[in-house]
Amino acid sequence: MFKYVIKRIVYFIPTLAIIALVTFALSKMAPGDPVKLALGNKDTGGEAGQAAEKIASEKAYAAMAEKMGLHLPAFYFSITTGAVPDTIYRYIKRSERETLLRLIDQYGNWEAIEQYYRNIRRLQYSIYEVKQDSSTYQPGRILLSQINQLFQLYRDQEIIASISSMQLAAQQSPAFAEVKNRIFELESSYRKVKSEATPFKNYIPAFHFYGINNQFHRWLFGDKPWFFGEDKPGQSAGFLRGDFGFSYTDKRPVWSKMKDALPWTLLLNFISILLAYTIAIPLGVMSARYKGSTMDNVSTFTLFLLNSLPVFWVATLLIMFFTTPEYGMNWFPNYGLGEVTSDMNWLDIFIERGAHLVLPVFCLTYGSWAYLSRQMRGGVLAVFRQDYIRTARAKGLPESRVVWKHAFRNSLIPIITIFASIFPAAIAGSFVIENIFAIPGMGKLSYEALFARDYPLVFTVMLLSAILTLIGNLVADILYAVVDPRISFSK
């Protein structure tokens, strides 16, 4: 048994590694610039003549990127085309890096492209350094908008159009002499990119190894020392040590946000699981005992329908008919969990919360209740076919004793496995229910995070529930052996 558990836990490692990889890959593929999100989506532009501010905002960007660990290569290694340099990750800004990769994909000569990009940056700073006055204001704005666009352009015509419109604007004032030189430099370096193109390099695969100092490693294992050594500020402990990073939207640690949401989800699920089991088990047993009776037929049919009743439909209908005065059945409060003030006694709190919980708990319960009853009925029926039940009946035991003492215990096994699968569901929360009823639990938290593109939270929930599912499956298998002594894992 012990050996079996150890073996299963060892099997977890590759499974978890794959899940962590998938989660990480998804978070990398997600659109949007995480640093910009974390900085509150402020535009890093500025007016001409404000070079200092521009530099400050660039610095803030770099600092935030470093805090989030985005200055590191993404993974232990990368497989790219031969034209892509192994240092491409140093271009932290996602939009810039993507433009560079596009240019590399077209022309394949990194040195020339890097020079071209450096010239864009130089030109940008030279524009920022021009003093603002009435003659430079209008052309300066054109220049700025063009140069900020140029960072994202990779199509030949668009780049040429942008450069020539900058040349036009720069001619409007003598203050742009320096800018004009820079534009000339930029144009010649772009011409060089095109004339010395080596696109064949894109067809040679290249392998770069980066070592453990990378984003994935930092996310999963952290860069804090494990046992001894000084912690430095800004280091992360990593997912495995319970550091889930911080949310992009309000910069709170993911863990603290989850801690606020978790109790509600647990409460909801606790009540609903309890209800489901206490109703489903007797119902399943009774309906198996009186198989073929009207009661059995009706309950089987009802449970079947309940099983395929979409939960969001039921929730919408309940909200529509029982929480609004529209149809004269305004019996329940519609959204949230109610307000609890300090002068309420426990009974008032109970009534207030209870009234808000009735509908969501019902929606959460009926599905698993139907499922459990059907399973229980099937389990008991399967046990009824066994010889020892016939023996029990033959020796004259009353039917209730046969059912509850002999059949019931052995038919509990499938029910136990289901419990193990319900366990992780409790953490992920019910996405739909919590959203419809506006309950601030895990489901609503991750749904809102998904819409706000707050991926640290989304992927933490995902990985955590994957881990819990694995543990749940293991617990189920162990419980199997505990409940049923015939099952043995030691060979």
């Binding site: 099997y11 590759p14 499974t15 794959i18 899940i19 998938v22 998804l26 593929m29 997600a30 659109p31 497989i79 790219t80 085309t81 596009r102 994909d105 894109n202 067809y203 695969p205 079947f304 329908l305 099983n307 395929s308 009743l309 979409p310 969001f312 439909w313 919408t316 209908l317 909200i319 529509m320 008919f321 929480t323 609004t324 529209e326 149809y327 992780p424 569901a425 992920a428 996405f431 739909v432 959203n435 419809i436 991750s446 749904y447 998904l450 819409f451 593109r453 989304v458 992927f459 929930v461 995902m462 529930s465 994957a466 599912t469 694995l470 499956n473």
Partner: protein
Amino acid sequence: MSKLSQTRQADDQSYWAVVRRQFMKNRMAVWSLRFVYVIIVVGVLADFLANDLPIACGYKGKTYLPVLNSYGVSLGISKWPPELANVDWHQLSYDWALLPPVPYSPQYMDNNNSGFKAPFGKEQVVPSFRFTHFLGTDKLGRDVLSGMIHGTRVAMLVGIISMSIAMVIGILLGSMAGYFGDARMKMSRIRLWLNIVFFFLAIYYAFIVRSYTLSDALSVSVGGFLLQLLISLLIFTAIMALANLLVIPLKRIPFLRTQVNIPMDILISRLIEVKVSVPTLLLILSICAIMSKPSIFITMIVIGFLGWTGIAKYVRAELLRVRSLEYIEAAQALGLSEWRIILRHAIPNSLTSVLITVAFGVAGAILTESTLSFLGIGVAPEQVTWGSLLSSARSDASAWWLAVFPGMAIFITVTVFNLLGEGLTDAMDPRLKQ
């Protein structure tokens, strides 16, 4: 006894005939099957059932077939005649017109009836009874019945597309795990090595080098993307074929010829475990959320790619049983190749039971898709589905018809497929066989 009746009797004892007979005895299941036909007919004919465009009309002395013409236009093989290009079909004065039963497209906003008009309600402002919104309208004045009809097409496509993908992956992986097990998949060392190395090369040339071509195509249209994807897959196949051709000469070297064992069952079971332990809805949601341009087809494909585990488990269990049957041994003794045995002899024997999982799988896929569109993820805003109709009911509590009808459609469809699954399970249960 005549020869004819003898063969008929033999026919009746075949496995399919027994299953069919058992299935036909189940009244609920038979009715469910009929309902599935209705869904398919409504889904296929949706454009003829609910459309702004007349099925046929006479306009300025000429006869047109606008619905058929619109198919031609969207396929790019025909054009609108100039007098019908960019017209509001509801404002045209036809000489005569054969309108569809529901003369509205799901997207058409009837400005006279915007703001939640109830079914048959007297407040509806329509030119004649023919134009009544029989199931009411939504906030923008869009016809609910038309949305329901076109939603049927979406549901049908969800079932077909996602289940075909899930079936291909599930049957392939499940049969490999079940048939080969942990000990029967043997290949020469060189074949294994070359396949691994060339697999990465194939991924590289088919997908990494072409990644921008693919993503640009996706941002333009799904059709173009599928074409580019096909090219990528062809490159992939060609490179893998090259690897296996290279094996033939290299196999002469004794060291490279040594057979190695591949534990297929462990590998695939692990893959299933990985898939099962990630919360599916959250995974689908995050994949759909990272798509820059939501499209119902991508959602269907994602549901398919994540829905194969049930089928794979089933096929694996079936093939574990089938592979030790005598006729498989006979096929092996005849020297048939392993793949031929799997594809021609083992899988067909397990297909009947795959049908059960497919029936339940369609129900699950439709449910998942409607949950997604209810939450507003993975569907373009202009796309009308049952789920999106239902979610619009949340903005006005008095619009009960928006909640009741689409929800009913989802519920009935899901129930029907579940009943089909149950019916098939009962029909194939060996205990019932005489």
